[in-house]
């Protein structure tokens, strides 16, 4: 006796069985059953297969059988077949060709319920060819007597248009007529389709604005209202005159509609469309506490708070004054138990921080980073810190010494993705801010004392610190200089196997320190260190550098090396214009003294090599010019290194065959990578569930 679908479900529910074994047995049974000529057996098999699909089994091999079941005269069999089809027919599979006729029959059938389930499936699987074939039948259905059918076909049209855009032009007007249909369901369906179309091409649906406006003012259905508000935002982007007409209804909806979802939508629309309007903003501000402090039992507190933060974000983008009032609120939100709210609060912090509040904000952010609860968003927190510090070239920072200390603190958090940005900010700020250099050197020196803990993949932070103490060593006092020297000459550096750039920075640091100090004792220590480096470090480049510096130190006159002490300075972007080009760079340099190419009357290009104007000041007769041109032309023809432009029409879009081959390669490897990455997810914790418990408690 073959199992029915219900038996399969019951079998899966039995406690002590091995699920996988059971499922495999059922699967092999299905493979046999589905080939049977009897439709009832086949349908049974398809139903069981559908349940297995929920467990992750593939249904696609049975496509043809599903098609047979679909075409059955019996309703229940047809229903099962269509349901299976909607789940498993792939968008571009060949089976769809065969199905087209079937759907055409169903669409014109007299039986409402049959057409309904056909449309349900069609919406999931229709492709471009089917769309083209079935379009006319769908248009006929627009005038069906049953509102159910009209409604469904209106929504179906969106998918048809997506697949077959040419159909849009033919049918859209017929569809738009349905906006004035007597049945509210049909209207809702049409509004949905028009909304989705407006997101693609608002100008196209603009002529329906009048009808839509009437619906906006009369409908009581909140879902329709939300869709319409979104629609009008899209339309207002292309037709600014709509704005005048919209302000009335928006204010009315905002003040009268009790549903929070509608309020939210209107507020969002106003922020998008009326950013300058004073009265609108005033009303929104009245509503805002309703969102932020709500204890409304219908909407849970945190849900509404999330939405309040979204709205606040939009408002502040419009007008920064609001930032002040809500600062404390944002800080509280940052400490909320809900991670989604914390992320939203971070976004708000990015746009509301001013130079007065910066120190406090960063302090709070750094405290948050250390909390274990924030382990998931540690990176976002640090990104926000760095963003604020470097915003607009450090516009918000007033005390750079404090800023440098903060940067060193962040280094200790050891997030590798921020290291590059961090080190570049450190270097940038020390270079630009002269007063900072002395303190920065001292702070860097202290930070470097624990240099073994600063090791990371690319050691950018370490490299930056070494650069700072080397380059600006002239700010060191004597005592600090000795300290710095002893630090960089420690043998521990070689043992720890840092990244190559660290050893490069180390050698130049040693070199610069010596130049600064110029004492014999220091000299001996530096030489010794460089000798060691040149032998012990693995990286060839670092060895080379150490040898190079060693050479310079031991052979050259130390007085001449004073140029090393000159500090790096940033260059202003307009500095280039202050430098005059040298005489050698002539203004009237003849490169090519003719038109490069001219366009002939039939559209092709004719290439020349010379330009008239470049003969310029030189007085020549036409004859002489011609002779000169010919001479240069001959010379170029014989020059093997002269690149001649190809003659003839340029064909656009011609890829080289080599490139095409490479693209294929990349596509293949990308798929391979994807497959490897999809691992089975771990099973969630075992919970005891009571499946018979009613979903809505009475």
């Amino acid at each position: 006796m073959s199992k029915s679908a219900t038996d399969v479900i019951k079998g899966l529910r039995k406690g002590k069985i091995d699920r996988t074994a059971f499922l495999t047995t059922v699967y092999s049974e299905i493979r046999e059953e589905v080939k049977s000529p009897d439709l009832a057996t086949k349908t049974n098999a398809i139903r069981k297969l559908f349940i297995l699909a929920l467990e992750g089994y593939d249904m696609e091999w049975a496509s043809f059988h599903i098609l047979e079941v679909m075409s059955s005269q019996k309703f229940s069999q047809k229903h099962s077949g269509l349901l299976a089809a909607s789940q498993c027919f792939k968008p571009n599979s060949d089976i769809l060709f065969l199905a087209t006729n079937f759907f055409r029959r169903e669409l014109v059938a007299n039986n409402t319920i049959d057409t309904c389930i056909a449309i349900n499936t069609l919406a999931c699987i229709v492709n471009a060819d089917m769309s083209k074939e079935l379009l006319n039948d769908c248009v006929t259905l627009l005038n069906a007597s049953k509102p159910i059918l009209r409604k469904k076909v209106c929504v179906l049209f969106y998918k048809l248009f997506l697949q077959y855009p040419d159909g849009l032009v033919i049918c859209f007007e017929r569809l738009a007529e349905k906006l004035r249909d007597e049945s509210p369901g049909v209207v809702m369906g049409t509004v949905n389709t028009i909304y989705e179309l407006s997101r693609l091409n608002p100008a196209f649906v603009l002529f329906t604005a009048q009808a839509l406006y009437e619906i906006l003012n009369t409908t009581t259905n909140n879902f329709v209202l939300i869709k319409l508000i979104k629609l009008f935002v899209e339309l207002a982007k292309v037709e600014p005159r709509l704005l005048k007409k919209l302000s009335g209804p928006f204010i009315r909806i905002l003040t009268s509609n009790p549903a929070k979802s509608v309020e939210f939508e209107v507020i969002r629309a106003i922020c998008a469309v009326f950013p300058e309007s004073e009265d609108m903003l005033r009303i929104i501000l009245q509503k805002l506490p309703g969102f932020l402090d709500s204890h409304d039992p219908n909407c849970k507190f945190y849900i509404v708070k999330y939405l309040g933060l979204v709205v606040l974000h939009k408002l502040i983008q419009i007008n920064r004054d609001y930032a002040e009032e809500y600062r404390i609120f944002i800080m509280e939100a940052l400490q909320s138990k809900d991670v989604t709210i914390r992320l939203r609060a971070l976004e708000l912090i990015k746009i509301t921080t001013t130079n007065k509040s910066l120190i406090e904000t960063i302090k709070n952010l750094l405290i948050e980073v250390e909390k274990p609860i924030n382990a998931g968003i540690k990176e976002e927190l640090i990104s926000t810190c760095l963003y604020l510090l470097s915003l607009n070239q450090y516009e918000l920072v007033e005390d750079f010494k404090w800023m440098f200390e903060v940067l060193l603190q962040i280094v200790n958090f050891k997030t590798s993705i921020h290291e590059a940005q961090l080190s570049s900010i450190m270097l940038d700020v020390v270079l630009r801010v002269e007063e900072l250099r002395e303190e920065a050197c001292e702070l860097s020196l202290n930070a470097l004392e624990i240099f073994d803990t600063l090791k990371s993949e690319k050691c950018e932070a370490l490299t930056a610190l070494l650069f700072i103490i080397g380059e600006f060593s002239n700010y060191f006092s004597e005592g600090n200089l000795i300290k710095a020297l002893s630090l960089v000459t420690k043998p521990r550096w070689e043992l720890l196997n840092f990244h190559e750039s660290v050893y490069n920075a180390l050698s130049s640091c040693v070199f610069k320190i010596f130049i600064r100090a110029k004492e014999d004792g220091v000299f001996k220590a530096c030489v010794k260190k460089l000798e060691e480096n040149s032998v012990q470090i693995e990286h060839m480049e670092s060895q080379e550098r150490s040898l190079l510096y060693l050479n310079i130190l031991t052979t050259s006159d130390k007085e001449k090396l004073n140029f090393v002490l000159k500090p790096f300075l940033p260059i202003h972007p307009s500095a280039q214009s202050l430098i005059f080009p040298p005489d050698a760079l002539q203004q009237n340099f003849i490169v090519n003294d003719d038109e490069l190419f001219t366009t002939k009357s039939d559209g092709t290009l004719e290439y020349h090599y010379y330009r008239e104007e470049d003969f310029g000041d030189i007085q020549m007769t036409d004859q002489e010019k011609k002779a000169a041109k010919l001479k240069i032309k001959e010379k170029q023809m014989q020059d093997p290194y002269y690149i001649k432009p190809k003659k003839g029409k340029k064909k656009k879009g011609k890829k080289s065959k080599k490139l095409e081959g490479k693209v294929e390669e990349i596509k293949e490897t990308a798929e391979v990578v994807k497959e490897e990455e999809i691992k089975k997810p771990e099973a969630p914790k075992k919970y005891s569930v009571n499946r018979a418990e009613p979903l809505i408690p009475s």
Partner: protein, 143 residues
């Protein structure tokens, strides 16, 4: 436009899955597993909105079943989708009379049909319970 609607129980077993953008079987299985894990790790007092890869996810737990709606848009009105989920559950409740997970398991075709009456192409086009129920009764008669 909704990308998918799922009903997944606390043990990670999918009871109903409707996808409005084609995804392969393995992608679906991964997605469902990851989402249910994320939902399970959240408490009652946290908000019902998540972000998962490029999807915005709205979920609600009814007894042992998580109803999950995922969208791929910007500017989503999350509260309206919460209301939609509740509408769906109330409709099923009226039809099955005190619906529970078992009802959905044993009547998967009817549950799918009810959902198809409310959402097509990822758009919610019918919210009137009476209309939807009328359709389901008509389905029963035809069977």
């Amino acid at each position: 436009m909704i990308s998918f609607i799922l009903m997944v129980n606390k043990q990670g077993q999918t009871r109903l899955a409707q996808y409005y953008n084609y995804m392969t079987i393995s992608e679906r299985a991964t997605l469902e597993g990851e989402l249910v894990r994320k939902c399970l790790s959240r408490t009652e007092n946290q908000c019902s909105f998540l972000e998962h890869h490029q999807f915005k996810v709205i979920y609600r737990r009814y007894a042992s079943l998580y109803f999950i709606v995922g969208l791929e848009e910007e500017d989503v009105n999350e509260l309206s989708y919460l209301e939609f989920i509740h509408n769906l559950v109330e409709t099923l409740d009226k039809y099955f009379e005190n619906v529970c997970e078992l009802d959905i398991m044993f009547n998967i075709e009817k549950a799918h049909f009810a959902l198809d009456e409310m959402v097509m192409n990822g758009s919610i086009f019918e919210t009137n319970k009476a209309t939807i129920l009328g359709q389901i009764y008509a389905l029963d008669k035809a069977n």
